[in-house]
């Protein structure tokens, strides 16, 4: 964990000042910020820029949206993170990264980190990232196309809408590609629909959902769960009543 943290810091220093620090665009519920290990927790308010080397804790019922000139980030309860202009260290929980704007092409690639992994995200689009029990990370493409790269890697791995990749801890690379049902995902992900409406994001999500429907050749009554060890992840039976899932669409495809 320390090694990853150090890499995060190292990369951050090279990028400082290229884009503005994220500031609070929306918040709801209990969210606290701690500027140093021994520092006192303090409340944050709308419009505040997050100070460097601070860690943010999203408590129960929290909703937090940050924005700088080319990206926005959303967090919910159980998320703990540190962020700067071009990077996010997600200690726990999940986030939604939205960098669809043109400006992102001129900015540094976004560095997304979990306790045991770091991944570089290039491209325009939006994705969901979630810290796993293994210390790795799950990344799910929502819109646009990302190119993901590990710090030591040469090759890029593409992430398109509806695609899920596990970033395995301890430098073990990316997991196998898993396709997800976007209709089910988008209609149930609180990171998408429990925040103030973003009309342009809604339009993009509607587009990918419609685009995926005719491409689905097979559906499983299973959903992807946690990755608790570096090389495995869980598949769970899907509840029959899942919205948009097989339970409501008895005709298997």
């Amino acid at each position: 964990m320390l090694a990853v943290s150090g890499l995060h810091e190292k990369n951050l220093q090279g990028q400082e000042g290229l884009t503005s620090s994220p500031s609070v665009q929306f918040l709801q519920g209990q969210i606290t910020l701690r500027s140093s290990e021994d520092g006192l927790s303090q409340e944050i308010r709308k419009g505040d820029a997050l100070p460097d080397k601070s860690r943010v804790f999203c408590r129960d019922g929290a909703r937090l949206a940050l924005r700088n000139d080319c990206r926005s980030l959303r967090f919910m309860e159980s998320a703990t993170f540190s962020t700067r202009a071009d990077s996010l260290f997600l200690w726990s929980g999940a986030c939604l990264l939205d960098q669809r704007g043109k400006k992102v092409l001129r900015a540094n690639p976004f560095l997304l980190s979990a306790p045991e992994v770091v991944v570089e995200c290039r491209g325009r689009g939006s994705l969901i990232a979630e810290v796993q029990t293994s210390g790795g990370m799950k990344v799910i493409g929502l819109t646009g196309a990302f190119k993901l790269r590990l710090p030591e890697g040469e090759e890029f791995t593409e992430l398109r809408p509806g695609e899920l990749r596990f970033v395995k801890p301890y430098g073990r690379g990316f997991g196998d590609l898993v396709h997800l049902n976007l209709e089910t995902l988008i209609s149930t992900a609180a990171l998408i629909h429990e925040f103030p409406r973003d009309v342009s994001l809604d339009a993009e999500l509607a587009k990918v959902t419609l685009e995926q429907i005719p491409l689905v050749s097979k559906r499983y009554r299973a959903r992807v769960g946690d990755s608790r060890t570096p090389e495995t992840f869980e598949l769970q039976p899907l509840p029959v009543r899942t919205r948009g899932g097989p339970g409501t669409s008895p005709r298997p495809r």
Binding site: N181, T188, P214, A222, T232
Partner: protein
Amino acid sequence: MELTLRFLNFLKGEAFCWSCPYLLRAFSSFAFIPATLFSGCGIGLDSFGTSNSSSKSAAEATGTIFKKDEQGDSKEGKQSQSSPTGVQEVVELDHSLSGKLLIEESERFRSVLQIDVKSYRSSNITRVESMGKSAAATEYTTIGRLEFPTSLDLLFFKTFTPSLTALGQRSYFGQYEIDSSDSTDEALRNLDYEFRSITLGGEGRSNSDWEINLSLEYDELLDFRSHDKLYHAIVSSASFGRDYSVFGGGILGFGIAAEYALTKIHQQYEVPGVFDDAGDNLRTALNLSLTQPLDSGGRFYLTPSASIMRTAYTKPTSTGRIDYLMHVELAAVYRIMPWLYLRSFTNYQDKTANEKAKALLFNYAEYNNWDAGLGLGVSLSF
């Protein structure tokens, strides 16, 4: 004459935006989006249990299936339908999605070519006050539109899209009968016309979602048999409007438009008062339209619309003449293919005028007319 009436006597140059705005927008979408949204249509879906996908399935991936009661205190046990990251249902796809953003589409040049053939019956083909004779008409319209990349945050606009639109339309009257009472008199050939226009415009959207359109347009009317120009006009226009979501997937559009036309008449059109060719004029209009999808697939639309327009002539001989035209239409559109559509319509026009107009146009100053017909169109985007 139906479409041209919209252009000249209804709202010049705004056929894209006003006469059936959402429909055309929808067609634009059909045209722009099909390659992405509907690209998968027609790709065979395998029956359950078989796969034509080359990508590795989730079942084949390194995974372990947990039953609910075996999950223990796994993080996944907390995943519910309202969890931050949602339900991640595994599927297989024929191929990956394009990953093309809508916003990227708007950042490039786009063009649309629309070709439309329409056959309709007009109850008062010569637009006279006492009910005139009915006749059939055929109308061929070609529209080419080039949209420039959308600018973001320009002045007070959230988005602004300039465009260049060219339109050509030819109408033939009395060639055949739709009803036995329809005239096929040779004299109706004199009504045949060709109309051309080219418009440089821009569509802006404010932060509060009001849409503002500005345009400069050149129009001309021709007798295509003799190649004589009958009339030309340079028209500057401004309009603003707003869309409201109604009845689930419906869009209610409201708009106000104003335009000023500098005109020059070369030769009088056969029927006076139909085209605004009697001198420079100021036109104002109020429009209301609804685009209501009737099926979940977005193939079938109902598009009622209503508008009222006032045209005040400013010079030279018609100064003081004011016309009012009310137009009510009900149209249904069926999209046979993403690029091919069938349209049926009926509309009613009621024109009234002031005393000056009556003195100038006599029997042609006021009229009412019903049109009803069918159209077939192609809309392609590049």
